[in-house]
C-alpha cells in the first residue's frame, strides 16, 4: 500500500514535470523539469524492482547527459525564447488528439482482461540478471550498439573540428 502511494506520487511528479517542461519559456527551467522527470522515473523503476536500471537512469541521464544540456544552455547563455501565437494548429488538433489518445489507451487497458498490471517489485532488475541478458543472451545487439555509438562520437569529432585549423596544421607539419 505504501509502495503504491509512493508510486502514484512520483508518477504525478513525473507528469507534472513533463507538462512544466513544455510550458516553461526559459530553456534552463525546461532542462530542470526534464531532470525532475528523469529522477522520478528512476524512483518508479526502483519501486518496480529494476534497481540497476534506476541507478543507471540517474547516473547517465540525470547526472551526465542533462549536465551537458545545462552546460550548453549556460555556454550559449540562451535567453527567454520568443513567444509566437501563430501555432493555432497545435491547439485545434493537438489538445483533442492528446485527449483522444489517452482515452483510447485507458479504454484498451480497462476493457482487456489479459493485461495484468506489473506488481511492485516484480521486475527482475538486479545487476546479475541485467548482466546475464546484456553479455550473454543479447551480446551481438549490445556490441553492434556500441559500434554505432562509436560512429556517432567520431561523427561529432569530425563536425566539431575546424577544417581550416587542420589544413593549417598539415601545411606547417
Amino acid at each position: 500500500m505504501l509502495h503504491l502511494i509512493i508510486f502514484l506520487v512520483f508518477g504525478l511528479i513525473c507528469v507534472a514535470g513533463a507538462v512544466n517542461l513544455l510550458v516553461q519559456s526559459h530553456p534552463i527551467n525546461s532542462a530542470l523539469s526534464l531532470i525532475a522527470v528523469m529522477a522520478s522515473l528512476a524512483v518508479e523503476y526502483l519501486l518496480l524492482g529494476a534497481e540497476f536500471v534506476a541507478a543507471v537512469q540517474v547516473i547517465i541521464y540525470a547526472g551526465a547527459i542533462m549536465v551537458l544540456f545545462v552546460f550548453v544552455i549556460m555556454l550559449l547563455n540562451a535567453g527567454v525564447e520568443e513567444r509566437t501565437s501563430g501555432s493555432k494548429v497545435a491547439v485545434i488538433f493537438g489538445v483533442p488528439g492528446v485527449l483522444i489518445g489517452s482515452a483510447l489507451v485507458a479504454w484498451v487497458l480497462l476493457t482487456r482482461s489479459d493485461t495484468n498490471p506489473v506488481n511492485v517489485g516484480a521486475l527482475p532488475g538486479d545487476p546479475k540478471t541485467i548482466a546475464g541478458l546484456l553479455f550473454h543472451d543479447f551480446l551481438l545487439p549490445f556490441e553492434i550498439t556500441s559500434v554505432l555509438v562509436l560512429i556517432a562520437i567520431m561523427g561529432a569529432v569530425v563536425l566539431a573540428s575546424h577544417p581550416e585549423s587542420v589544413q593549417q596544421a598539415k601545411r606547417e607539419g
Binding site: I28, L32, I35, A39, A42, E51, F52, A55, V56, V58, I59, A62, G63, A64, V67, L68, V70, F71, I73, M74, L75, N77, D126, P127
Partner: protein, 353 residues
Amino acid sequence: MLSVGTFVLVSIIKTVIALVVLLTAVAYSVWLERKVVGHMQNRWGPTRVGPFGLLQPLADGAKFLLKEDLTPPYVYKPLYIAAPMIAVVFALTSIAVIPVGNSVSLFGITTPLQITDVNIGLLVVLGVTSLGVYGIALAGWSSNSKYSLLGGLRASAQMVSYEIALGLSLIGVMITAGSFSLRDIVDAQGGTFLGFIPRWNIFQGQFVAFFIYLMAAFAETNRIPFDLPEAETELVAGYHTEYSAMKFAMFFMAEYANMITVACLASLLFLGGWHQPIGSEAWMQNAPQIVQAILPIFWFALRIFGFIFLYIWIRGTLPRFRYDQLMAFGWKFLFPLAIANLIVTALIVALKS
C-alpha cells in the same frame, strides 16, 4: 524482522546521529584544514577562540548565521536560492548508504551501523554525487556574473569528465568483490595474506585503481590541485562569488561533506573499511560487546582522518593546474589508464575462475 514502528524509529535515530556526526566532522575538517595549512606555512592558524582555537567552528557558524544575506540585483532568484540547497542536500544524502561498522545490538534490537543497506549502494553514491554538480552549475549561471558563470562552466565540464575515470576505477573493485553492496565489498576484505598483509583491495591488485580514484576524487570535490571552478587568482571565488552568509556556508558545507563521502568510499572500497589494519581480528570474538561495536568505527574514522589530512597536505603542497592541463590529464591519462586497469582486472578474475 522489526515491526514498522520500530523500523521507522531506528531509521530516524540513525539518520539524526549520522547527520550530526557528519556536520560536526565537516565543521572540524575546516578547523583542521586551517590549523594544518597554518603550520605548514609557518603560522599558527586559529588560536583565539577556545583552547587551540577549537571553538572556531562555532564562532564561524554564528558569524554565517548573523551576517546579512545579500541577494544581488539581476540574479535569477528561484535558482539562485535553490542552488546552495541542491548542493548541500546531495552532499549530505550519500551518507545514507555508507556503512560505518558491523551490526550492533541495543535494547534487543540488532541493526547494521548504516542508515540503509541497499544492494546497489555504490551506484547510489555515484548517482547522488553526479547530481551534486547541479548545485554548482546553477549557482554559477543564476548569479548573472561572469566570474560565477565561468566557475560554473568549469565545474560542470570538470566533474562530468572526471566522473568517467572515477566510475571506471571503481568497476575493478566491483569485479574483485563481485557485488555492488558496500557492506559485501568490505566483508570481502577481512583477513590477511601470508599472515601479515591485510586482504584490502589495494593489496589485491587494485592499487592503480586506487590512485586513479584518488586523483579523480580530488577533481570531483574541486580541491587543490583541481580547484579550477573557484580559482581565486582568476575568478575571484568562482561559482560562489555572489553568495554571502548562510548560502555561502552551504557551499562550504557541501564541499567538505563531499570530501568526507569520498574519503569514506576510498576507505570502504580500497582500504578494508572498518577492518583492523594490523594483525589478526580473531581476539575480537571474545572482547566485550562495546569494544566489538566501537573499535571498527574507530578504525574507520582513523582512515577517514588520514584522507582528510592527505587532502589538506596536498592543498599545502601543490599549485593549481591550468585548465587545458586538467582536461588533458583527465581524458588522455586517467581515462585510458582506468580502462587498462579494468581490462587487466577482468582478465585476471576470468582466468582465476
